[in-house]
């Protein structure tokens, strides 16, 4: 099968979940013997380093089958590339590659126009899109967290969006959504890593018959790891991920403050390791809050709570960092779509203590493969930490119940089965005319998996 993957960014240029996933799918496709290509749309700032004069698309230096794309005239509000030349070069490259599948992993920077261009370039191809956040729905970086109050936004609406963006009239929100949906209609299938995200997009206007949930898979980094290993006191908690406002480091610190003030710190104490990068993208207000909490913590815990900030980590450091903790905290305060950190913790047999929200809530069965608490509820987290610290029996029970997360190969096979089903049904109806792809779209038989993801692809969600 000839497949073209199109992503926003490339993990070799800028690490991040979406680009890592796209890259691993691409690698998995190659490993499975397919003819795969990866086109990564980069940021404008990358063009000076990786670009070549006059070339909107260039081969990735030192790599085969991989390209960097530098779209011009990018309009964030509409997730649009307004430059015909950029889109034309992309179309011509896809045309030359003649894929059977074009699968997008983002529209940001790539531009929704590229979907139509892919359809023109490869009229018979299956076109898919995997959503990794809610940027099409929510202008606040796709987080669906209200800009002023930082409250969770339950549903986008013209009036609600105008509250976050007073300069944009409510009608604009309606038109923007209609435009995005017009372009997205070119896709044959929409893939979501969680049911939560699929439901959000269906509520927003995507046709449910095109939506399918497929869990993210990852290269298993824990093959050599002793999953049953834990600290003697079973009192070491770890945070992994981005040190950003919505990831909930402040909730952890608040929980520790509750334990300290109420003198509920276990005899052996508590150790919390913060493994977080990209701190420079956190807001000043958030960083100041964390600093205040840290100072306060020193006063109330008399040294029996130790918080270590270990900074960012690479994937090659993950085993060592995971070995250093017993429990992994995922206290996200936004709608965490999937939670790659949960997969990472599970690779190493670490029980997860997570916010009961969105994709995290879907994945974790409390007491079975982890524990959950009400999002943003520091007291609930404090209660869990106090109860679990030192509880070796509970740790072992969950540790044994944790299944290995999907690998990238399993994930790729799930994708492949969806593409093949669509292609097969298309063959049955005699193909799709380029001018009316949205009319003749074949319903994937796995569409019900969106609601009840018990099928092959959706099982790990």
């Amino acid at each position: 099968m000839r497949i073209v993957f199109i992503s926003y960014l490339h993990p070799a240029v800028a690490p991040g979940g979406e680009q890592q996933l796209a890259y691993e799918l691409f690698q998995a496709a190659l490993r499975q013997g397919h003819d795969a290509y990866l086109i990564a749309a980069l940021e404008a700032e990358h063009e000076a380093v990786y670009g070549k004069p006059g070339a909107p698309i260039v081969p990735m230096p030192g790599e085969e089958r991989q390209y960097f794309y530098f779209p011009q005239r990018y309009d964030f509000l509409h997730l649009s590339v307004g430059d015909w030349r950029s889109v034309q070069f992309l179309r011509e490259l896809i045309e030359r590659l003649a894929p059977e599948v074009v699968h997008f992993h983002h529209y940001h920077r790539v531009g929704v126009e590229s979907i139509r261009a892919a359809r023109q370039a490869a009229p018979g191809a299956v076109i898919g899109m995997t959503f990794h956040e809610m940027m099409a729905i929510c202008l606040a970086d796709g987080q669906m967290v209200k800009k002023n109050s930082r409250e969770l936004c339950q549903a986008a609406s013209p009036v609600a969006c105008n509250k976050c963006f007073p300069d944009l009239r409510p009608e604009f929100v309606t038109l923007r959504a209609a435009r995005l949906q017009a372009f997205l209609a070119e896709c044959d299938v929409f893939v979501f890593p969680s049911e939560f995200l699929a439901e959000r997009y269906v509520d927003w206007g995507l046709p449910p018959e095109k939506c399918v949930a497929i869990a993210n898979g990852q290269v298993n980094l824990g093959d050599e790891f002793d999953r049953s290993q834990h600290s003697r006191q079973v009192n070491r908690f770890g945070f992994f991920g981005q040190f950003l406002d919505n990831k909930g480091v402040d909730v952890i610190l608040d929980a520790l403050l509750v334990l300290g003030r109420e003198k509920r710190i276990p005899e052996a104490g508590i150790v919390v390791e913060i493994n977080g990068g990209n701190k420079q993208y956190a807001t000043q207000a958030f960083l100041e809050k964390v600093l205040r909490q840290t100072e306060e913590l020193k006063k109330v815990t008399t040294g029996r709570i130790e918080v270590r900030e270990r900074g960012p980590y690479g994937r090659d450091q993950l085993a060592e960092r995971m070995a250093s903790v017993d429990w992994v905290l995922v206290p996200s305060t936004w709608w965490e779509i999937f939670g790659l950190v949960v997969s990472e913790a599970w690779m190493f047999g670490r029980p997860v203590i997570a916010s009961a929200i969105a994709g995290l809530k879907e994945r974790i069965t409390p007491g079975v493969n982890g524990f959950t608490f009400a999002p943003r509820d520091a007291r609930a987290l404090a209660d869990l930490m106090a109860a679990l610290a030192g509880d070796e029996e509970q740790w072992s029970e969950v540790n044994e119940a944790i299944e290995q997360p999907w690998t990238e190969i399993e994930m790729f096979e799930a994708y492949r089965s969806v593409w093949e089903e669509i292609a097969e049904q298309r063959r049955d109806v005699g193909g799709i005319a380029v001018d009316a792809p949205d009319v003749a779209v074949v319903k994937p038989p796995r569409k019900e998996a969106r609601k009840k993801p018990a099928g092959r692809a959706a099982a790990p969600v």
């Binding site: 309009d75 307004g82 015909w84 889109v87 126009e113 009239r169 009608e171 604009f172 949906q181």
Partner: protein, 523 residues
């Protein structure tokens, strides 16, 4: 001469006074005054007809704040004058060998809070705006004496012009029209100004600007082809519409034939051309971009577009008009039908909440009365005026499908959506360029169309969304000023129209002779 102070003028020579003042003789003959001396006291002193009494003219407090002269010789003089209690002053520009009188109809007085605070409080209109055109482009482009004279007082100062473009001068005047208030009543004050010489000069100034802006438009056609109809949208200050409209109409399966975007803000031309080519390439549709030299306004921009349209069936679509997927098939059928006949068709327009926003327009009026207060009693001043108002039928009314199965004849339709044949449009000489930038030209076209071409009607199946005011970025005060001025011009042009249609009757079904109307009814 009862109840006035007794005055004696020992040297008064009755015979001489009557010799130099024929009016006095007539007044005595008609019995209006008892004699030459009474006439002298009541009129002669003020008229300065008999220089027996010498007096020192009071110097009036005054400031000529700005003296602007444009490339084509239009001039604008802004300032204030503390002439409360004086007779109406004469404004004059004096050059080396020439004098320029500024007539009262070229001046409007307005409130100046700053002057009221520093000179004298109270409801007096100290500010003045004097506007007109010199017969010569260069006559006023030099330092001049600015003189103000009344019997009671005078003022004189040297002024040097700021030389600016026609457009800038026009915008400054329009901004003044928008932001100034008058104790005497803004509308009445402006009525006198705009219905007189100044109004004519303002229209001339705008037309000069339009001519310059439309003289050599840049035109590029993407994927040209033979089309049966042309959509036309005028862009100003925003490229959003070209990102949205063709995509959404195409997604709703409405064949727009050729979509002409007239770019009234040339600074957006690069983005508009780029998007036009991109969308044309992606969807294999014809898009034409016309870039004007500057903002020529709605009417002139449409006139240019219609002149260059690839078809004879024209649909003017505001940049903030969109399509309901639910009504798209009906719209497509309207477009697929043949001739628009001799009718000027309007659409049924909705808010995005699906309530009606427009189903034709009628014309009403508001009356305004001068408030004199501390302002002088000037018999030459207009004491009241009536300005026409264009109103929409059914604004925010829930839509009832049963009410809209047939075309309805109306007084006027909005320029947001208009459908017609090019030949009939040319028959009425297109949109009038008297209306500055935008507003009222649509009602004006409707009224002229009805007079000389055919009926004006709302098509029951041309159903579209109108996100009113969302298609352009006309945010400056000059646009508000233009709208105010246009209302005065429209009122002056169509005052008679109102009298016939004073009461807004419900629109009636359009005459059945028109082919398109008949086709609409047949559905």
């Amino acid at each position: 001469m009862a109840k006035t102070f007794p005055v004696s003028v020992p040297k008064f020579d009755e015979r001489h006074y009557l010799d130099v003042n024929a009016n006095a003789k007539d007044a005595i003959k008609s019995g209006n005054v008892d004699g030459a001396f009474e006439h002298y006291l009541r009129h002669g002193i003020d008229e300065n007809k008999y220089t027996l009494i010498r007096r020192e003219a009071t110097t009036l407090a005054c400031s000529a704040d700005r003296f602007l002269v444009s490339e084509s010789g239009f001039c604008l003089l802004l300032g204030w004058l503390a002439d409360e209690g004086c007779d109406p002053p004469r404004f004059r520009l004096v050059g080396g060998d020439f004098n320029v009188e500024i007539p009262p109809t070229a001046i409007f007085r307005h409130a100046r809070k700053d002057v009221e605070e520093s000179v004298k409080g109270g409801a007096y209109d100290y500010g003045f705006v004097a506007f007109g055109q010199s017969p010569s482009k260069s006559l006023l482009k030099q330092s001049l004496l600015f003189q103000i004279n009344s019997v009671a007082g005078a003022f004189q100062t040297k002024i040097t012009p700021e030389l600016i473009s026609d457009k800038r001068l026009m915008d400054i005047l329009l901004q003044m029209i928008a932001v100034t208030e008058a104790h005497a009543g803004k509308e009445v004050t402006l009525y006198q100004f705009l219905s007189g010489a100044a109004g004519g000069s303002l229209v001339e100034l705008f037309r000069t600007h339009v001519a310059a802006s439309t003289a050599s438009p840049y035109i590029e056609r993407f994927r040209p082809r033979k089309v049966s109809h042309s959509f036309i949208s005028v862009l100003f200050g925003s490229t959003e519409p070209i990102k949205l409209q063709p995509i959404l109409f195409n997604a709703a399966k409405v064949d727009f034939g050729e979509w002409i975007y007239v770019c009234n803000s040339p600074e957006d031309a690069g983005a508009v051309l780029c998007y036009a080519r991109l969308i044309s390439d992606l969807y294999d549709v014809m898009i034409t971009v016309i870039v004007l030299g500057d903002n020529a306004g709605f009417g002139a921009a449409n006139n240019v577009a219609i002149e260059h349209a690839a078809s004879d069936r024209i649909i003017i679509i505001n940049p903030d008009i969109h399509v309901f997927p639910a009504h798209a098939a009906q719209v497509q059928r309207v477009l697929s039908d043949g001739d628009f006949g001799t009718t000027l068709w309007g659409g049924l327009l909705f808010y995005d909440e699906h309530t009606l926003m427009h189903s034709g327009m009628y014309i009403d009026a508001d009356s305004f009365v001068r408030r004199n207060s501390l302002n002088r009693h000037d018999e030459a001043a207009v004491s009241s005026c009536r300005l026409l108002r264009v109103e929409h039928f059914d604004k925010s009314v829930p839509f009832n499908e049963r009410d809209w199965q047939e075309p309805r004849e109306v007084t006027a339709i909005t320029g947001a959506v208009m459908a017609f044949n090019k030949a009939q449009f040319e028959q009425v000489n297109g949109f009038s360029t008297q209306y500055i930038y935008g507003h009222y030209e649509d009602a004006d076209l409707s009224l002229r169309w009805k007079k000389s071409v055919g009926q004006v009607a709302v098509h029951p199946f041309l159903r579209l969304i109108h996100l009113e005011g969302q298609g352009s970025r006309a945010r400056g005060e000059e646009y508000r000023g233009a709208s105010i001025a246009n209302r005065h011009f429209f009122s002056a042009n169509h005052a008679d129209s109102l009298d016939k249609r004073r009461k807004p009757a419900r629109p009636r079904a359009a005459a059945g002779s028109d082919r398109a109307a008949a086709a609409a009814r047949g559905r």
